[in-house]
Symmetry: C2
Subunit: 364 residues, 2 copies
Amino acid sequence: MMMRRWSVSARVGPTASARSGRGRGGGQEPSMATMTDIAREAGVSLSTVSYALSGKRPISASTRTRIDQAIAKLRYHPTASARALALKRTSLLGLAVPQRPDVDDHVIMEFVGSILSAAHEADYDVVLVTAEDRERALRIVEEGKVDALIVMDIVEDDERLPDLARLHSPVVLIGNPQDTNGLACVDFDFLAGAMLAVRELHGRGASRIAMLKPPSAAAGGPVPTYARRARLGYTMACAELGLDSEVVELPPDSAAVADFVRDQILSGARFDGLFVHHEPALAMLGRAMSQLGVACPEEVQVAAIAPADVARNGPWEVSSVDLPIPSIGRSTVAMALERLRDREVPAHTRLLSPTFVPRATTLP
Amino acid sequence: MMMRRWSVSARVGPTASARSGRGRGGGQEPSMATMTDIAREAGVSLSTVSYALSGKRPISASTRTRIDQAIAKLRYHPTASARALALKRTSLLGLAVPQRPDVDDHVIMEFVGSILSAAHEADYDVVLVTAEDRERALRIVEEGKVDALIVMDIVEDDERLPDLARLHSPVVLIGNPQDTNGLACVDFDFLAGAMLAVRELHGRGASRIAMLKPPSAAAGGPVPTYARRARLGYTMACAELGLDSEVVELPPDSAAVADFVRDQILSGARFDGLFVHHEPALAMLGRAMSQLGVACPEEVQVAAIAPADVARNGPWEVSSVDLPIPSIGRSTVAMALERLRDREVPAHTRLLSPTFVPRATTLP
DNA sequence: CTGTTAGCGCCTTCAT
DNA sequence: ATGAAGGCGCTAACAG
C-alpha cells in the first residue's frame, strides 16, 4: 500500500487564485513553505524535521506523523539550493555532448539516455552543455553547479584535457586518448574488439582479411580516439595469426563501396573476410554485395564493430562485435559517482570487453 | 579610532579555522576560496567584493584592481548554490525530452541544441530529464532545482498537464494541445502551415489535392498535437477554395507508398496535388514516383510540411512549408525567460508563422 | 528521542 | 565609495 507523502490533496481553481495561506491577501510570491514552517506547524524543532526527512536519526512515530501531516498540509518540498549549500553537493552531473554535424544523433541520444537513466537511479540529475562551449563546461564545475563532469566524444590530442585535468571535481572521459592527462576514462575496448572480430573471421576460415574504415579525417581534423585502437587491434590480430593486413579507407558513398566490391571482391577475389569498422558503409556494403551477386557468408565473410541495432537493421544482419553504448553510459556515471565517494583513489581507465555476436554474414 | 584586525567576528567554528595559509601540504579538501578570502586578500569588506562582482554599485578603480588580483591569485569562483539560495534563482532551466522510440532522434537533437544555445546566451544552463519520468520533472521544479521547465512532445490530452499546471514556476510546452490547462505553449502554426501549402498548390494549378499522413496512432496511443491541426488546416483550405478534400493515411513503408502512387496517381490520376505531412514517407514517395515514371511537377505537384533538411535531402527537393525547429526551440526559451521576469502576465500560446519554400516539386 | 545553534557562501538593506 | 549585519533554507555537531 502506497502511503502518500507528498500527495496533492485538493485542486484549487482553474487559475489557482487561492494565493498563499494566511498572510495578507496582498498575495505576491507564493513563497513556498520552509522547514521552519513545518517545524512550527508540527510543534517540533527545526532539526527534528530535518532528521525526520533525512532519516539520519530515529524519530518517534507520533512525531513523524505530525511532521508528515504538516508537510502534506503545507505542500512542503526541500529547497535544492539550500541543501546543496549545506551539503556541498548538488546531486547534479555535468554532461558535455558534441554538436559536431558528423556525429550520429542516434548514437548521442543513446548515450544521453543511458547516462540519464543511470544518474537518475542514483538520484542525480544531469546538466547538459555543448562540448563546443569549453568555457561553460569548465565553469559549471568551477562554480560548483555540478558535482562531476562527463565529457563525450574525446578525440586524439583533445585540447580540452589540460583544462579539465586542473579541475578539483571528478571528470570522466568517454573515450581513451593516448594521453589521458591523468583523467578517468571509460570506453569500449576497441583494440580487443577488433582483434576478436579478426580472430572470429579467421576461425571460420577466412585468411585474406581486409579492414574497412572511413577515410582518416582531413589532416588536422579531430580523430576519435577509437580509430587508432581499432586499427591497431586489426593489425595486431593479423600479425598474431600470420595474416597479411590491408586497411582500406572507403568514403561513405554507395558508388565507392560498390567499386570496392566489384574490383576487390568480385573480380580480384582478393579478400575472403572483411572487418568493417565503418557504420555508414555497412548498409551500402550489403546492398552492393547482393546486387553484384557476391555470396556473403560463402565467398566472403563480414564482421563489424557497430551498435547492435546498426548491425541488425539495414539490408542484412551483420555478424558483429556489438558496441554496448548503454553500458558505456552507465559505466561512465558509475565511475563519476565512485570518484565522488573516494576523492583519493587515482584516476584509471575502464575498457569494456568485447563480445562477438555471429549473425548472417559469417559461417557457423 | 578603532583598529580592527581583520574582524574574526564569526569565525570560531572548528571548520573555519582558516588554516588556509600554506601550512603544510596535509592536503585534504582544496576547499575553494570564498568571497571572504577575497575580501581579506584585497583588504576590503565582503560586500565590496560582492558589489564589485555584480557591478551593482560603483567601485573605485584601485579597489576593483586589488579585488581582481585577489580573485586571480586565489582562483576564486562564485559558488552557484550559495548564489542560488540568496537570489532564489538557479539559472537553470529544466527540459523534459521524450525517449519514446517513435520520435526522431535527429529532430530531438535539433530541439535540444537550439534550446541549449538560447539558454546559454541568456546565461542559463539546462537540466535534462526524460519526459517519461514525470515524478522527476515535477520534482526538479518543486525543489527549486530549476527556475522553469520546458516540456517537449506534448500530446493530445496529455496526462501530465494537470500536474504541470499546479507548479508555481513557469512551464512552457512545446506543442499546442486543445486544452492547455492554462499553460504557456510554443509551437509551429500547423494549421496555417497546412492551409498555406494547399493554397500554394492550388495557386499553381492543382485542384485535386490529397493530404498524405501517417496512420492515426493505434487507438489510445499518444497523438502529437500537431496531427489534428495540420489536418484541420488542410480541410479548411480545401473548403475555402471549393476543393474536395481527401485524407490518405499511409503506413511508412515503401510498398504501401508505391501502391498509392500506382493506384491513385498513375492509373487513377485522381490527384494532381499532394500535401504531405508524413516525413518518413517523403523519400519513399520520391523514389516511387520516379520509378513508376510519374512526372513530378508536371503531372502532380507535391508540397510538404517538414524540417528543411528532410525536404531537401532524400531523392528529390521537395517544395515545403519548412518546420523551423531551431526557432521553436529559441522561442520556447524566450517565453520561459519572459515568464520568469513577469510572473504576472497570463500564460499565452505562441505559434510560429509558416513560410512556403518552392523547390523542385511544384510548378514555378 | 528532541532542541539549540553555528555555519555553508553570497546578496542586500542600512549606515557611514 | 565602503562597511556591518542579517538573512536565504538546510545540515550537523553539540547538548540534553
